[in-house]
């Protein structure tokens, strides 16, 4: 990209037209403030969510976790909470982003279900690319969520997309559920947790935040009953309890919730659990 950019001095017309397009687009973003309700994929969601956190969000309660915790949509949470969980990502990525953005939240909630997921170094490198990440703060049209295609997709979604009621009434697809639950049971049982590196990183990050007076609280997202006593769930819980003395949000009553595939909550259940989560979290730091 920049090779072309650097050489454009040789073709003024192209650079002038590009500048015009870019300036018009930037003004449209600044003045029009388009609402982005649809992003293209989970990696872009992760990227955009992180950029929002780095540049815009001042919440003091941050949730970090995997795709399981992403179900607690930021729309379900009060303004002083922000969910920095990632599809395909995990706790370590979230903690690293908070650390690098030089923010010190009062409380960080760590989802335990996939706590030893490897850090997403690519995402972190993209977010904090030297110089560029500072520029993006002041030029909104360079942020991922303001990609032209996202504006188009958001328009389509607001015009033709599912209504709120349709989301609430989202039903489990039995075939997909059956196929996935069997896979999860097998994977959760045969898991070999080789997590020394991730555990040591987690300890360092927890220590870093605790030194800055940030409270670290663990929690588990509800899962299908068939998975509750599997090796992965018990082993992870055991490791966390052995190495950390932090508080926990009380474990959820898994029977109350419905998942699409054994581990990801359906919309209604996610909404319900978000409310319970907030109420338990409030109780915890009120004490």
């Amino acid at each position: 990209m920049a090779v072309a950019g650097c050489l454009f001095i040789f073709n003024f017309k192209i650079i002038i037209y590009t500048l015009v397009f870019f300036i018009i687009w930037t003004f449209f973003i600044i003045i029009g403030k388009p609402e982005i309700i649809k992003l293209q994929n989970q990696w872009q969601k992760n990227y955009s969510l992180s950029q929002d956190y780095i540049y815009e969000i001042s919440a003091v309660n941050i949730i970090v976790g995997s795709s399981m915790a992403t179900r607690m949509d930021n729309d379900f949470l009060p303004n002083n909470y922000y969910n920095l969980s990632f599809g395909g990502g995990g706790v370590l990525t979230g903690l690293e982003i908070i650390k690098r953005s030089k923010k010190t939240p009062s409380n960080i909630y760590l989802e335990v279900n996939n706590i030893f997921k490897e850090k997403d170094s690519d995402l972190i490198a993209r977010l904090f690319y030297p110089v560029l990440w500072k520029i993006k703060k002041y030029v909104p049209s360079l942020k991922a969520k303001y990609q032209p295609i996202n504006i188009f997709l958001s328009y389509l979604k607001s015009t033709f997309g599912k209504s709120h009621e349709e989301h609430i009434n989202e039903q489990k697809n039995d075939k997909i559920y059956e196929m996935n639950i069997i896979k999860h049971i097998i994977n959760y049982e045969k898991i070999v947790l080789d997590c020394d590196k991730e555990l040591s990183e987690l300890k360092k990050l927890v220590q870093y935040f605790e030194e800055k007076d940030t409270k670290i609280i663990f929690f588990e997202m509800p899962i299908d009953e068939k998975l509750i006593k599997t090796k992965k769930v018990t082993l992870q819980r055991e490791i966390i309890n052995t190495h950390f003395v932090n508080d926990w949000i009380p474990l959820p009553n898994n029977r109350k919730y419905v998942t699409s595939d054994g581990i990801h909550l359906l919309y209604k259940s996610a909404y319900l659990y978000s409310k319970i989560f907030i109420s338990e979290a409030e109780k915890l730091y009120d004490i």
Binding site: K13, W25, D122, L153, L156
Partner: protein, 470 residues
């Protein structure tokens, strides 16, 4: 080092400044060799040793071929060169295939394990093929078609020229595969005033657009084609994903090739066009004159024609086609699926050749479009063997398409069509241009400006070029 990374951009700028500096005019080739070695060694410096040794041996052997007057001896040197290059590619690329066999013999205990730990050197399939091209072209050289400038030619010059030819960084890791007879005559001092910057820049913009906007965005959609995720989706979603992958692989590789050609042009070198609107092909044989042209012409010139080409009996012709396509498939990697992919295309070519004897369809738009659709569908179906590394997964993907009991993902389908649309327009524009000569509607400054604007504002997350793995 990726073409879309800042270290690469810096390398190109520094190299350009030194290259066209009048104080270094006599050192243009060494400057490009140093830059190419820096480019290659950036992430895995130890692999540079193999590239250097391979290029050096090719330089020595090819110089012997060039000097030798007795045809018999010339042939021996050329054979040594070809065998050396084949051994290098077989050992590093196909070693893991043989390691399992070695493991079954007690006396070779541990050797198989050792072979599996050897990394696959990036670009090995490309630079060994260029090495073969060098020795063969010099063997075939004749007074009418000189490859080398014979005035004041000596080993030192040949050595540097060969290092340059094999390692020239725009084409080193993913082609286009350059043939010696195309490249060596271009080696001479270049002047900035002679460079067609407008054309070079347009190549770069189009290449980066195809890679960063189309391929990188499609990559995040076609991720769901991987095992086990694809099992969750409906037939329509799976077919659209396959269509999206077809667009992605074209944009990724054609984008890379255009960037390589554009950068080479900045240094005054013309590389062979690697893609010529392949998805408008009306036949499978036409497809192979438009897709990865540098590989298909290499296979044609150095394999298909030497084993007889079209000048053989009918049965032998089909066998030749099949062998070339099987080896072409295997060139992509040491996996059965690549061989099956080669066999699949070999079969399509053979069947087409056979049927062509009986039918001759008129060139009517409607029929042409139908043919394009058929060729595109078969080619796209074949990409499944590229995307899924295990043959069992390919079978499962097809089964899942037939069962149609997964979820329909409208968002994925929509994204794929949005990002495939520019590729469709790109081909359509060319198709229309064929009938309205000289009217290339997209060759406008504001079109390129729009592409550049989209590169800045709508790029996907940067991904490794698909053809790096080959």
């Amino acid at each position: 080092m990726l073409f879309n990374s800042f270290p690469f951009i810096l390398l190109v700028i520094i190299t350009l400044v030194l290259y066209y500096n009048r104080f270094f005019g006599a050192y243009q080739v060494p400057i490009l060799i140093i830059s190419s070695f820096t480019f290659y060694a950036y992430s895995q410096p130890y692999l540079l040793f193999l590239l250097f040794v391979s290029a050096s041996i090719n330089a020595i052997v090819s110089y012997k071929v060039y000097l030798e007057k007795i045809i018999k001896k010339k042939k021996i040197y050329a054979t040594i060169g070809v065998v050396f290059n084949l051994l290098v590619i077989i050992f590093f690329k196909y070693g893991p295939l043989f390691s399992d066999i070695l493991d079954s013999f007690n006396s070779f205990n541990g050797i198989g394990e050792f072979i599996r730990t050897i990394p696959l050197p990036v670009g090995i399939s490309f630079y060994t093929f260029q090495g073969i091209s060098l020795v063969v072209d010099l063997f075939r050289d004749n007074p009418q078609k000189h490859i080398l400038n014979r005035v004041n030619y000596n080993f030192k010059k040949h050595y540097f020229d060969t290092l340059f030819f094999i390692s020239f960084f725009p084409q080193l890791v993913s082609g286009p595969i350059v043939k010696a007879y195309q490249f060596f005559p271009q080696i001479k001092q270049k002047y900035f005033k002679d460079i067609d910057l407008d054309v070079a820049i347009k190549f770069l913009i189009l290449g980066y657009f195809l890679k960063m906007v189309i391929a990188d965005n499609l990559k995040d959609q076609t991720f769901w084609m991987t095992y086990p995720y694809f099992q969750n989706y409906s037939s329509l979603t799976l077919l659209t994903l396959l269509f999206g992958y077809s667009m992605q692989i074209f944009s990724d590789f054609a984008g890379y090739s255009l960037i390589a050609i554009g950068i080479a042009k900045l240094f005054g070198y013309n590389l062979i066009q690697n893609f010529n609107f392949p998805y408008i092909s009306k036949s499978f044989s036409e497809f192979w004159t438009r897709w990865h042209i540098s590989l298909s012409t290499w296979l044609k010139e150095y394999l298909y024609i030497p084993i007889g080409g079209n000048r053989v009996k009918e049965i032998r012709l089909y066998i030749n086609l099949y062998v070339v396509m099987l080896l072409g498939g295997l060139w992509h990697g040491a996996a059965w699926s690549y061989m099956v992919w080669g066999g699949y295309h070999g079969s399509l070519l053979a069947i087409e050749k056979y049927l062509m004897r009986f039918t001759k369809s008129p060139s009517i738009h409607f029929i042409n479009i139908f043919k394009i659709f058929i060729v595109f569908s078969f080619v796209t179906f074949g990409w499944l063997l590229f995307k899924l590394p295990e043959f069992e997964q390919v079978i499962l993907y097809i089964k899942t398409i037939l069962l149609n009991d997964g979820a329909r993902r409208i968002d994925i389908i929509l994204n794929i069509f949005i990002y495939s649309f520019p590729v469709f327009i790109y081909h359509l524009n060319y198709y229309i241009t064929q009938f309205q000569k000289g009217k290339y509607y997209l060759n406008k400054n504001y079109v390129y400006a729009m592409l550049l604007f989209l590169i800045i504002s709508n790029s996907g997350s940067s991904g490794v070029f698909i053809y790096f793995q080959f």
